[in-house]
């Protein structure tokens, strides 16, 4: 941390040091530290706590700045890994048995339906949470480097964009595992979008589905992606994402707290001694230091940060666990390559894309561009590309970092919100206003009775 340190000898009369200087006096850390030293010890000696700083700036802990959406997303990810473990032992990734095994999980296995519901609801909430987290970070300009030295917040933002894509791929690969109608037609449409890329598209599709038709190889590929590659990748990026927050000096809101703060004398802290005389006399040198972390601006991470993180994580777990008791997980008919359900709808977080690929087939003269390519590949790529490079396009001053709706970022915030609203509007149209044959129906209009089979 900031501040200079200089060792000076302790004043006589200080209490005797522990018998083994330099060793933590107690084998366990304390969640109720009686001193700053004990609070710091917890961070140093506990493996799970070591990724926290010893001190946290108070504004970083505000509920209404970050809404703790990143923490909630991470909690949901951990919950997904945890609830995925029993499912891993119950699910069979075979086209003949996948549907049956999910049906068994749902109707035969004790607590199976609850575990599946926890996994499913956590996945839905995670998509929502990471999306809201992205919106929060954009609107607060938290990807901007503030006043700290060596900050690389823009790269943490890029990591975040990659992580939201991984989250969506995890959801996609997850909901097709039951190998029901939703799954089969989602794979069909999803891989045909990949196939619509000029020149390399068909090869990409063949690589994705392991052949030319959707079959066992397809299920196995998506299964392995879902349980190994994607979670491992997301987990690694998550760790990096967290580490970068510390390297960047905490949340952007805390940046200003370091500005203009006076150097203050920190209370002398005893440290270990290497001198024989020191050991013999029971004197240890003490560190006299000046610090920028004024006591009124920071709190000890143990227990203030730990307490709030625990509230968010356990609260998230509790909400998901309770919701899972009341919201059953759907399971459609077994995959039928011959009949497409009518309407065939993706999960809500992909419906804006489904709506866009519907509307973007363009005819220019005699030349037709498939909406699958324009709306399914080009448009998302542009959106993601813009998101990725935005920190370098944002020319607002460093002082705008970490402030909701800063005046200097008004225009870009409006444009961003407009895009967000468009995505939400498309999602709502896709969810509520599309009926059989993807025709438009108002919610109060009844869908026509159509034969389910031809």
């Amino acid at each position: 941390m900031s501040g200079t340190e200089r060792a000076v000898s302790a004043k006589p009369g200080t209490p005797a040091p522990p018998s083994a200087p330099g060793v933590h006096p107690k084998p366990f850390w304390s969640f109720r530290p009686r001193s700053d030293r004990e609070a710091g010890d917890a961070v140093v000696s506990n493996f799970l706590l070591h990724w926290f700083p010893a001190k946290t700036y108070k504004p970083s802990l505000d509920w209404n700045y970050s809404f703790w959406l990143g923490t909630a997303s991470a909690a949901l990810f951990f919950l997904l890994v945890l609830s995925g473990l029993p499912l891993l032992l119950l699910y069979v990734p075979s086209v003949e048995r996948a549907y049956g095994s999910v049906k068994d999980i749902e109707f035969v296995v004790t607590f199976g339906s609850w575990i599946r519901a926890v996994h499913r609801i956590a996945a839905h909430l995670m998509v929502a949470a990471v999306f809201l987290h992205l919106v929060r970070v954009f609107l607060t300009g938290a990807y901007k480097n503030g006043t700290g030295r060596g900050q690389r917040r823009e790269w943490n933002w890029v990591l975040g964009v990659v992580m939201i894509v991984l989250t969506l791929f995890l959801s996609f690969t997850g909901y097709l595992l039951p190998w029901d109608q939703l799954a089969y037609w989602a794979v069909t449409v999803g891989t045909n979008i990949a196939s619509s890329v000029p020149f390399v598209g068909p090869e990409m599709r063949e690589l994705l589905i392991g052949g030319r038709t959707i079959d066992q190889a397809t299920l196995l590929r998506f299964y392995v992606l879902h349980v190994i590659f994607l979670p491992a990748g997301l987990g690694a990026l998550l760790a990096y994402h967290m580490w970068r927050i510390r390297k960047d000096g905490g949340l952007a809101k805390a940046d200003r707290w370091t500005l203009g703060s006076e150097k203050t004398e920190a209370p002398p802290a005893k440290t270990k001694t290497w001198s024989l005389l020191g050991v013999a006399r029971g004197q240890a040198p003490a560190i006299r230091a000046v610090t920028l972390e004024a006591a009124d601006r920071t709190v000890n991470s143990v227990n203030d940060l730990v307490r709030r993180i625990s509230i968010v994580v356990l609260g998230t777990f509790a909400v998901v666990s309770i919701l899972a008791c009341f919201i059953p997980s759907p399971l459609e008919e077994p995959a039928n390559p011959m009949i497409t359900p009518n309407p065939a709808k993706a999960p809500w977080y992909f419906l804006w894309l489904q709506e866009i690929v519907t509307d973007t087939t363009l005819k220019i003269g005699s030349f037709t561009i498939n909406g699958a390519f324009l709306g399914g590949v080009i448009l998302p790529t542009i959106l993601l590309g813009l998101l990725t490079v935005w920190p370098w396009l944002d020319r607002s001053p460093a002082g705008a970092a970490g402030i909701w709706f800063h005046a200097s970022r008004k225009r870009q915030n409006l444009v961003f919100l407009l895009v967000v609203l468009l995505v939400l509007a498309f999602t709502i149209v896709g969810t509520f206003l599309r009926g059989p044959y993807w025709n438009f129906y108002w919610p109060w209009q009844a869908w026509p009775e159509l034969p389910t089979r031809i």
Binding site: I193, G210, T213, M338, V357, D359, Y437, W438, I454
Partner: protein, 182 residues
């Protein structure tokens, strides 16, 4: 140990520097490592590209011509509509050209007589896709919705051995194709 002397002018292997033996060995080592990693990664990826395709055969016997009613019959296994008009047959794919869902046929309230590519055609149905709402006319021409091109027409023939109808799902034909039985 040995006395270090300046290498004579033109010495080939100085012990340090950009062209020394040590430098060469280091570059060779790193290069070998990179080649090994790239090679293994490439081999792993290549192994995922199937060499053998276990796809269903593209030439399929569909049944005796007498089993096909006048009008339209949907064959779910082949995702194919087979149309019969007296002694002439034609087959239209049920795979939407937008993103590959199976389109559904809807009988027209009134049969239309049309001329498609210079040949008369009786239109009994139209087709709609449940995924993104593409609509096709009775000969498979895309009308509205995101479909970029018409539904495929496939080649029909008669099997030599047992007289069944045979479709070749790998052979697209024009909208003027008809199989006429003698």
């Amino acid at each position: 140990m040995t006395t270090k002397t300046d290498p004579p002018a033109g010495a080939e292997t100085p012990s340090a520097g950009p062209n020394s033996r040590r430098d060469f060995l280091m570059k060779a080592g790193i290069g070998a490592g990179v080649v090994a990693l790239v090679g293994q990664a490439g081999a792993s990826l290549r192994s995922l590209v199937p060499n053998v395709s276990y796809d269903a055969p593209t030439t399929v016997k569909l049944g005796a011509p007498v089993d096909f009613p006048d009008g339209m019959k949907f064959l779910p296994d082949e995702r194919l509509f087979v149309f019969r008009e007296g002694k002439t047959f034609h087959a239209i794919s049920a795979v939407c050209t937008h993103l590959g869902c199976t389109v559904r046929a809807e009988a027209l309230s009134k049969v239309e007589e049309a001329s498609v590519e210079g040949k008369p055609l009786r239109l009994t149905h139209r087709f709609q896709c449940p995924c993104h709402g593409s609509k096709y006319s009775g000969d498979g021409t895309n009308q509205t919705g995101p479909a970029p091109k018409p539904l495929a027409w496939y080649h029909l023939s008669v099997a030599v051995d047992d007289g069944q109808l045979v479709v070749d799902l790998a052979q697209e034909v024009g909208h003027d194709f008809r199989l006429t039985l003698a």
